[in-house]
């Protein structure tokens, strides 16, 4: 078995540009589709080619990430060539070093990226279609998934932070408007899609953090914003790094270690300081939701949001696409809503009742997807919650201290401050997880997998 993975040569080409033998082709318009004009409407001045180039870089990285299966040892190697308007800017040593550092820490892969001139001119967009965006009144941006954390943060910031916020949605799902306290708030969707080379693609998708962060940074640059607010609570940001599993590269997608590296990369592209803020990072998701509930009572937050990543093929029951209720995202969601005092409608989930002793019979009778695969997800999710709950125990102290250092460096706070906050966060998570498990009863199938707390 080769220890150094075969280098994947990938060449991004324009619509009518020829492919080159020896390289995988990533074609703009086929594999990567985005609407740079949409962002240009933020800019009252002339067309800025950096908009197009930045979106293309985000797309090219995602294309590589999802197109090639990982080997057992995790690491892949890419040699990627991207056509841009300004190769001089993108080939600068400092920028390339910042880009490589960002990507290698995030994905665990080796990246060698070079930039060349576009072969064919890209049409600049028509000017004059300025909406509310061009008034540049925003002071901070939120990458908005419309999930629990996004909603909680929006509610908290609406009451506690006077800065006008721009909500940014990256992807194909369009959110037309969003309501806070009966007021419609500014929202922008960035249409962006990437298709990998094969149907059987890599699913670890670490590069999603890069795409969301980079495009949020681009929107911030164009609107003159200097802060991007990350809505993730503590378990989501720190959890995957606190309790890594096997040889998998630690997931840093919303970790401050990664966002500080991304901020350094944005400085190289835009020659401006754009920082990432993590206002909820020392809260459990349950604490964030409890706070949001005080400020914005009602059940919309759980009725209108999804946490589950599974599509209708994997999580349908009773003739509707539900949330599975047992994957890592669902288990954290249910535990957190329970901690915040919400009582959900169990019909939100395929696994409506977690108190039953048998996993299979706890699924909705109409569930037809792969039960074994769902059970594997449920075991991994239960252990993840359990392992976070015990991550400050004596035998894990050495590992915990490293995570405290990473948090302190990423957030720019002292080690002592980070240590105190991290141990409180873990203790709070342990308490919420313990209560949630207890609420399911001693016969619950969860109890046979979980041991902590």
């Amino acid at each position: 078995m080769s220890e150094y993975p075969q280098v994947q040569h990938v060449r991004v080409v324009q619509e009518h540009e020829k492919s080159r033998s020896g390289s995988h082709t990533c074609r703009i318009g086929s594999h990567i589709s985005f609407d740079a004009d949409k962002l240009q409407c933020y800019v009252p001045g002339p067309w800025e080619p950096v908009i197009y180039d930045t979106m293309l870089v985000a797309g090219a990285v995602e294309f590589c990430d999802i197109s090639f299966k990982r080997p057992l040892g995790w690491r892949r190697a890419f040699k990627l060539s991207i056509p841009v308007h300004e190769p001089g800017r993108w080939n600068a040593d400092e920028l390339k070093a910042a880009l490589r550092s960002c990507l290698e820490r995030l994905t665990g892969d080796a990246w060698d990226i070079s930039f060349r001139s576009l072969k064919h001119a890209v049409d600049s967009p028509a000017q004059g279609d300025f909406g509310f965006e061009a008034d540049r009144r925003f002071k901070a941006a939120i990458p908005y998934s419309d999930g629990l954390d996004s909603r909680a943060l929006a509610a908290i910031m609406h009451h506690n932070d006077p800065r006008p916020l721009l909500r940014i949605r990256v992807g194909e799902k369009n959110i037309r408007s969003h309501q806070v306290d009966d007021t419609k708030v500014p929202f922008e969707n960035i249409p962006f899609s990437v298709v990998g080379l094969k149907a059987n693609r890599e699913s670890s998708a670490r590069s999603r953090g890069f795409k969301f962060g980079l495009l949020s940074g681009l929107a911030a640059y164009l609107t003159g914003i200097d802060a991007i607010v990350v809505p993730e609570s503590g378990q989501g940001s720190f959890g995957p790094m606190l309790v890594t599993v096997g040889q998998a590269h630690g997931d840093r997608r919303t970790h401050p270690e990664f966002t500080s590296l991304l901020s350094a990369f944005l400085r190289q592209i835009f020659e401006r300081e754009i920082r990432f803020e993590h206002p909820l990072i020392w809260n459990t998701k349950g604490q964030s939701l409890a706070h949001a509930r005080q400020l914005a009572p009602g059940d919309a937050i759980w009725k209108e949001t999804r946490s589950c990543w599974k599509d209708a093929r994997l999580a349908s029951a009773g003739n509707s696409h539900r949330q599975c209720g047992i994957c890592a995202a669902c288990l954290l969601r249910r535990c957190s809503l329970h901690a915040a005092g919400y009582v959900e409608d169990p019909e939100m989930y395929v696994w409506e009742d977690l108190s039953l002793p048998d996993f299979a019979s706890a699924a909705h009778p109409s569930f037809r997807a792969n039960l074994a695969s769902a059970k594997n997800d449920a075991i991994a999710a239960t252990l993840h919650m359990d392992h976070i709950a015990e991550s400050d125990r004596d035998y894990g102290k050495l590992s915990l201290q490293r995570q405290v250092l990473l948090a302190a460096e990423g957030l720019g706070i002292s080690y002592e401050n980070a240590y105190s906050s991290m141990t409180k966060l873990i203790a709070q998570h342990r308490s919420e997880w313990h209560d949630f498990k207890a609420a399911q009863g001693s016969a619950s199938f969860l109890q046979s997998w979980a041991i902590a707390a």
């Binding site: 590269h249 630690g250 080690y415």
Partner: protein
């Protein structure tokens, strides 16, 4: 009931071998420690690489110590990261080196502290995966829930202070001399390990 849930572990062979060794109570602590040593040395070779290990060891003990107090700057440690292939274990080693420095440690003390932490970090990560795999197999009646707990407890139990000290000594020797002792090489069939492709272009 299957006799070998470790067979289908989605891990490198050396880690499956370790799980197999720990699975059977008849194997002695010495056998298990040998299997863990082999797994770790193999992983250091592929993930940190001998070159990365040399750079880390040299940063703390080499002739080019930057000042009379033997302190190593975080920037110098970050530079090592950029010279090596990315990996979780390398990140752990660099982070832990910075942590040791931030605690005021220097020279051999800092290096030992760094490697101690790195070994601990990685072993915990591996034992979590083995536990998860065993639980899945317990659901299929290929093992038991008790065995799932026991195998993680036994794996974690191998990573004692004295084991870490012994492992750290091996790694420091490897980093200083560029090779493992003959006994280790014979036992583990280790070669030079991977290098960053772009470094040679």
């Amino acid at each position: 009931m299957s006799d070998g849930p470790y067979r289908s572990l989605n891990m490198e062979k050396v880690w499956r071998d370790l799980a197999q060794c720990v699975h059977y109570p008849a194997n002695s602590v010495l056998d298990r420690t040998d299997a863990l040593t082999k797994a770790l040395l193999r992983t250091v070779k592929t993930q940190i690489t001998p070159n990365g290990l040399r750079l880390i060891v040299e940063a703390f003990t080499g002739a080019s110590q930057p000042d009379m107090f033997n302190t190593v700057s975080p920037e110098k440690l970050e530079a090592i990261r950029s010279l090596c292939l990315p990996s979780d274990l390398l990140n752990s080693a660099i982070d832990n080196a910075k942590l040791a420095v931030s605690f005021g440690l220097v020279g051999d003390d800092a290096l030992e502290n760094c490697l101690n932490r790195t070994i601990e970090d990685h072993c915990r990560s591996r034992s979590r995966q083995i536990e998860e795999h065993y639980l899945r197999k317990a659901e299929l009646n290929e093992t038991t829930f008790e065995k799932s707990r026991a195998i993680r407890r036994d794996l974690d139990g191998l990573v004692t202070q004295s084991f870490r000290a012994s492992m750290t000594a091996k790694l420091i020797e490897w980093g200083k001399s560029g090779h493992l002792s003959k006994a280790s090489i014979d036992k583990n069939s280790l070669d030079a390990g991977p290098v960053r492709a772009t470094d040679h272009e």
